[in-house]
């Protein structure tokens, strides 16, 4: 119980936190769960106080004092009334807990989807996230942008969860509970974040070597910011003649087998879409920040940041690395 109280301190903060506590909810499903958790905590806490109190009393009161006393205490073999009492009371508690929990399950899981909802298809990959916005024609990666939803005009985001390979799990604790992404199965999850900012989370189902660095960032944007982001993402890739050498490397090496840059010959789907690479704050699913130096090192040897990542080291020389980094740095 102390454990929970300790974590509860974080509940007084609003908006996104560096520590993604489940006691600092910022979206309806997370808030409902938070309320349920307080209810369950108070019941289990009361049970603990009563039973542990009785036990502590028994230990103190009935411990043997002095070794010389060898007489045996009165032998009591049982009592039907007492057994019935401590069967019936737990039954009642279970009924209350079950009904409360069931109501919450239906409220969250079967919530009707409003017309204003944004659809995003999330595809889990070893070890990164693909976010497709089917109605907006956007293919984003690792950093999910969603609009702020205010209670008067709710614009929740409905996530359709799929997997390209093994089982993953989408978990941003401040926004909602987690939901798994399975191959050959469609799962759903919804959020309606009510404070703007960046919410962190990560993959919560072991999915291979770099499960730990399959981090999640959810950007909750004000309507204006979100519109600006959408507008940028819908552009074709920037085409800059000054970095043609880098682009040639990208298109003649194996890069294009796995990566897409819209408007070019590169249409690979195995790795992240790089059309707007530099619009993202992080690289390698959050393993490091997105700066040209980190980008160069990531291309030179992905194992520096993410040992076991599926992107191979391409064995490029220094000049090629510089040119390629220069090209990728223009993809805003």
């Amino acid at each position: 119980m102390l454990v929970a109280l300790f974590a509860w301190r974080t509940a007084f903060a609003e908006g996104p936190q560096a520590t993604p506590s489940i006691f600092a909810p910022a979206s309806t499903p997370a808030t409902s769960i938070y309320q349920l958790s307080l209810f369950v905590l108070s019941i289990t806490g009361a049970i603990f106080v009563v039973v542990a109190g009785l036990l502590a009393y028994a230990i103190f009161r009935f411990r043997q004092r002095g070794d010389d006393d060898t007489s045996e205490p009165a032998q009591i073999y049982g009592s039907v009334q007492v057994e019935l009492a401590w069967t019936v009371i737990p039954v009642l508690i279970v009924v209350v807990l079950f009904l409360t929990t069931a109501r919450m399950i239906f409220a969250i899981q079967d919530a009707p989807k409003p017309k204003s909802a944004l659809d995003v298809t999330v595809v889990g990959h070893q070890f990164w996230w693909e976010f497709n916005y089917p109605k907006l024609g956007i293919h984003a990666v690792n950093e999910l942008h969603v609009p702020l939803s205010n209670p008067q005009t709710p614009t929740p985001t409905y996530l359709t969860l799929l997997s390209a390979d093994v089982i993953h799990s989408f978990w941003v604790p401040q926004l909602s509970g987690k939901q798994d992404l399975l191959p050959n199965k469609v799962n759903e999850l919804w959020i309606d974040p009510q404070h703007p900012g960046i919410y962190v989370g990560q993959c919560a189902q072991f999915c291979g070597v770099q499960h730990a660095k399959m981090l999640l960032r959810v950007y909750v944007d004000t309507p204006e910011d979100f519109a600006a982001w959408v507008k940028n993402q819908q552009q074709q890739a920037v085409s800059d003649q000054s970095v043609a050498a880098g682009r040639r490397i990208f298109e003649t090496q194996a890069c294009m087998n796995c990566h897409t840059v819209s408007g070019t010959a590169a249409t690979g789907r195995f790795g992240p879409d790089l059309t707007h690479l530099m619009s993202r704050d992080t690289l390698a699913s959050g393993a490091t920040t997105n700066t040209p130096e980190h980008l160069r090192e990531w291309i030179r040897n992905p194992d520096t940041y993410k040992p076991g990542a599926l992107m191979p080291a391409m064995q490029l020389n220094d000049q090629q690395l510089d040119q390629l980094t220069a090209y990728l740095s223009t993809l805003r």
């Binding site: 039973v51 987690k178 469609v186």
Partner: protein, 563 residues
């Protein structure tokens, strides 16, 4: 009457043994060829404790890696192997073998039999389990195979498909995992059949089912549950091997297989498995708590009924491991209800232990210390279990460190504590010598402090969003200090376990002579010499109540007046 040697203490003086090479070989050989239930019980226990130390060492490596964010103590590949091997070892090689260690040694003695029903099956079962464990650990050497990828299994102990399929796990590591679980599974099935047959057919005169010691009852229930649940596990392993070797598509999602089916197969084994492991721990507590409270167990029929009820209900709760996998709302609600129902018979057990202690004369020798701590910790583990059963909250807590803290509360706080309590209690019977009480107290207090430092604190990072099975974590998440504390607690526990290991060895040579009945206990095993002779009982005992030795010691007020 019990064995004719009772109540004369000690056994026949054996001539001093001379250690020559031939004598050592003969001694070793006697352990290999034995079909004696007591020797096999000891083998099971030695095996279980050995792997407890191995699995513990793996846990320590994991804790060192997590002591601070972005540590480089071990690589992610090694980390993933270690937590997979830690889980598999602790569940299958420690948990599943301590059961049969205690059951084999004690059931015939408690029911007044001379051996198990099928002594050769008993030996066969042990050696299957033994070689299954070796096979698992051989993967460290042989798992690389032709493809060089991975050596020991690194897919978590539940090995969710399709991560175990050839496309994602080339090499042979998952094959070792699957084969070793099939082989140890055969051992478990053999041993379970044996336990049930022995308890039903080998009871001495007067030992009706309602006079069976609760220890035996719970082991019968455990074995029945193991028989039911090992089957789907074995079936799933066979399907996995068919997928990997013969191009089957059971779990091969890229060819239309189902990842979901594996999860169902695994957890329909995996959840009852928790009860397979914990019921024998209850069995130990059911013997220790009455003896050290100096009272008969409170509500014997209720305890039997609750155990059977737990076994039945536990067969219908498996999908509470899958609340986040995408079941319908009705499906989720069903498993919330079934899971919370388990809390009722479990609560009855806790209340009965409490009532047994109530009004007694509690003697806090080491076995009782461990079993008292067990009751408190199991209560807490049950309450965090209730929290996890509330499906929406589970969507947050699932796969987080909160869950790890919860099930270590069960597996360590309940089961390992009872194993230690049981060893302190029966070691004198097995070896004829007492374990040192002084070291025992050190062991207990260090272990209980280390346990709470580790596992109480471990709940918090889960509530703060830390998922399980990650080899490192981001520095700005605020999980660093908590993980440091958890690791320090782990170290304290490790020291306690080393003291215990030393106690086991030192007391064997220097411990106080135990005599037949050092605890003034009531079940039949304490009427035999310590250690018991090969034939256990010179004449078949006859019992008239649940506590035959109580009747002997209190002829004026025997139990059968009240039962």
């Amino acid at each position: 009457m019990a064995d004719s040697t009772y109540p004369i203490p000690g056994s026949l003086e054996a001539p001093p043994r001379r250690w020559s090479q031939a004598a050592i070989l003969e001694w070793l050989n006697s352990w290999v060829i034995t079909v004696d239930h007591k020797k096999l019980g000891i083998l099971y226990m030695v095996y279980s404790i050995f792997f407890l130390l191995v699995g513990g060492a793996e846990a320590m490596a994991i804790r060192i890696q997590l002591v601070q964010p972005n540590m480089h103590f071990i690589s992610p590949q090694v980390f993933n192997r270690l937590f997979t091997m830690h889980g598999t070892t602790m569940v299958f090689l420690v948990g599943m073998t301590y059961i049969f260690g205690f059951a084999n040694y004690l059931i015939p003695l408690m029911i007044g039999a001379r051996d198990m029903a099928f002594p050769r099956l008993n030996a066969f079962s042990f050696w299957m389990t033994f070689f299954g464990g070796l096979l698992l650990y051989y993967s460290f050497i042989g798992g690389g195979g032709l493809y060089g990828a991975g050596n020991a299994p690194d897919t978590m102990w539940w090995a969710y498909a399709p991560l175990t399929e050839r496309a994602f796990s080339p090499g042979h590591a998952p094959d070792y995992w699957a084969l070793s679980l099939i082989v140890t599974g055969f051992g478990t099935i053999g041993a379970s059949v044996n336990v049930i047959a022995t308890a039903l057919c080998m009871r001495c005169k007067g030992m009706t089912l309602m006079r069976l010691p609760l220890f035996v009852w719970l082991n019968v229930v455990t074995s029945g549950l193991a028989l039911i649940t090992i089957t789907p596990l074995t079936a799933a392993q066979v399907m996995l091997l068919i997928d990997r070797y013969f191009g089957g598509h059971f779990f091969d999602t890229q060819a239309g297989g189902s990842a979901l089916i594996w999860a169902h197969f695994f957890w329909i084994f995996g959840h009852p498995e928790v009860y397979v492991l914990v019921l024998p721990a209850f069995a130990i507590a059911n013997e220790v708590i009455p003896v050290f409270s100096r009272k008969a167990i409170f509500g014997y029929p209720a305890m039997v009924a609750a155990s059977v009820a737990i076994a039945f209900v536990s067969l219908g709760v498996w999908a509470h491991h899958m609340f986040t996998i995408g079941m319908t709302s009705v499906g989720n609600a069903f498993f919330v209800l079934s899971t919370e129902l388990v809390g009722i018979p479990t609560g009855i057990k806790i209340f009965n232990w409490l009532a047994t202690m109530w009004g007694g004369k509690l003697r806090f020798a080491t076995p009782m210390l461990f079993c008292t701590a067990f009751v408190v910790q199991f209560l807490l583990a049950g309450l965090t279990g209730i929290m996890l059963s509330a499906a929406p909250w589970n969507w947050q807590l699932h796969s987080s460190y909160f869950v790890i803290a919860h099930f270590h509360y069960v597996l360590v706080g309940a089961i390992v504590f009872c194993i230690f309590g049981g060893i302190y209690y029966w070691y004198p019977k097995v070896t004829g010598r007492m374990l040192s009480e002084k070291l025992g107290k050190w062991h207990f207090w260090l272990f209980v402090i280390g346990f709470h430092v580790t596992f109480d604190v471990m709940h918090i990072p889960g509530l703060l969003g830390m998922p399980r099975s990650i080899y490192t974590y981001e520095a700005n998440r605020g999980w660093g200090t908590l993980n440091l504390i958890v690791s320090i607690g782990g170290l304290i526990q490790a020291i306690a376990v080393l003291i215990f290991a030393w106690n086991l060895i030192a007391s064997y040579f220097k411990g106080k002579e135990a005599g037949n009945d050092p605890w003034d206990a009531w079940t039949l095993e304490w009427s035999t010499p310590s250690p018991p002779p090969v034939y256990n009982f010179a004449t078949d005992p006859v019992v008239t109540s649940r506590r035959p030795l109580w009747d002997l010691k209190h002829p004026d007020d025997p139990d059968w007046h009240y039962e």
